[in-house]
Structure formats: structure tokens, C-alpha cells
Symmetry: C2
Subunit: 139 residues, 2 copies
């Protein structure tokens, strides 16, 4: 899935800049117009969740600093925390080498997971025992 | 995208276990049979890359402890590092609350990115200046 635009960036040196809107326009949104977004706690470095943005949600996130996703189940723009109060404030946004994934460092208000757990990745695969173990209790 | 199987897990307490193969069978692989996988450095907590696995790659990763993805560009199983030597050793694997994303803590040999950068997320969006900045030089 190599995009010529991002291939051309591979040789850039550190601190080289390019217009932000050009990069956003070239992102590899999928056939549903979505791109994967990883939200990582800026302080603890914990990976909180994986969700999706369309171009509007991504631009709104940059403009408001409030993490704004595309809800695939509700089919609508979703400001994280709008109903729960568990907002995420954007601290930094990165694009990957292929332009098909976004990493956001965020300040998380309350729990990231809809189960009220701190993060969404609470089921651990344990190959030795062939078990999956819940690592955090539901509150 | 709530799956009844994963909804039933939401109320489980900490350390509760269930058969690993059942969880894997219930994962929400997409219409191409793939699931998003985040590779995070187990030591530094740096997010290294986002890639994809099918069920075979996921099982092979658990069996061999070598991160094994599905290459969407080459349309084949891809043992990360098989050509570059930059293997990733699996230290822990987690599934998220919706069963549609996987987080792997890995020990990274060499660079994670095909550009020989340490990680793939080296283009930072800087809203204030409307620039995208390369944060790591290509070697």
C-alpha cells in the first residue's frame, strides 16, 4: 500500500517541513473514507484505544484539540467524551510512513474504555495456558 | 460494531479466564479477514507501527513469538524481519473491548520502519504553523 507521496517523504531529513493540508489530503483513507487512529496516553504511554477518523473528524480534532472520531456503529462524527465526559485532549498527532495510520498522544479525562476501564485492551492472550485473561475488572 | 461475545466479557472481574481459541474465533476480522494490530515497544512504550493480521498470522505469532502479519501489498503472510533481520519478538498480546483490535508488546530488533527509522510515526502534524514536520531523519 505504498503511496508515491509518502515514498517521496522517506528521504527527508529531521525537521524538514511540508504543508500540513497536503499531507492530510494524501492520507490513505480506506474505501469507507476512514483511517485507523491509535490514541496513546501522552503521560503514561499506555495505548488507550484504536478507533477511526474520516477527514472531517481528523481536521476537527486538529482544530479543537478534542479527539473526534467516526463512529462506525452509529455512522456519525463522535466527539469522544461528549456523552461520558471522558474527553481526550490532543497533545500531538503523527502520521506513519505509508500515510495509512495516525498516532495521537492525548490527555485522557477519566476512563478511555466504554466499560469504564482505563483502556480498551484488557483481555490478554496467554499462549502457555491457552487462556485469555481479563487484566482489569469492570468497575 | 459491538459483538455479543465481547459484550458478555465486559462484566468479568480481574483475572477471570476463558479459552483462548474461543476469543480468537470471535475476533472481528474485517471483510478481508484482517484485524488491526498495534506493535508497541515493551520497554520504551513507543508505538512502533500499525499493521494487519489474519487469523493464521495471529495464531502463528502466538505459536512462534515472532510477529507475523498479513502484507496487504504483497498479499501474503509476512514474518516481520524475515528479509531485514529486524524481527519483533512478542512479549504480550491483548485484545480490545470490541474484539476488533490487537495490541502487541514486542521486543524490537533494529528499526521497526522500512525506512530504517526506529518507528513508523515520524511525520508530526503541527497545527499552529500548518506544517507537517519530519521528526526523524532517514539514515
Amino acid at each position: 500500500m505504498r503511496c508515491p507521496f509518502f515514498q517521496n517523504l522517506e528521504t527527508l531529513g529531521c525537521n524538514e517541513t511540508l504543508p500540513l493540508h497536503e499531507v492530510i489530503e494524501q492520507l490513505a483513507f480506506n474505501e469507507q473514507g476512514l483511517i485507523s487512529v491509535i490514541a496513546q496516553d501522552a503521560e503514561t504511554k499506555e495505548v488507550l484505544m484504536l478507533a477511526w477518523m474520516n477527514q472531517t473528524a481528523l481536521q476537527q480534532t486538529l482544530d479543537t484539540r478534542r479527539m473526534t472520531y467516526w463512529s462506525r456503529s452509529r455512522n456519525e462524527i463522535w466527539v469522544k467524551g461528549a456523552t461520558s465526559g471522558n474527553y481526550q485532549t490532543l497533545e500531538a498527532m503523527y502520521f506513519d510512513c505509508d500515510g495509512d495510520a495516525v498516532l495521537c498522544l492525548v490527555k485522557q479525562q477519566g476512563a478511555a474504555c466504554h466499560t469504564e476501564r482505563k483502556n480498551c485492551f484488557y483481555i490478554e492472550a496467554q499462549k502457555l495456558t491457552n487462556c485469555a485473561v481479563v487484566t482489569t475488572a469492570s468497575p
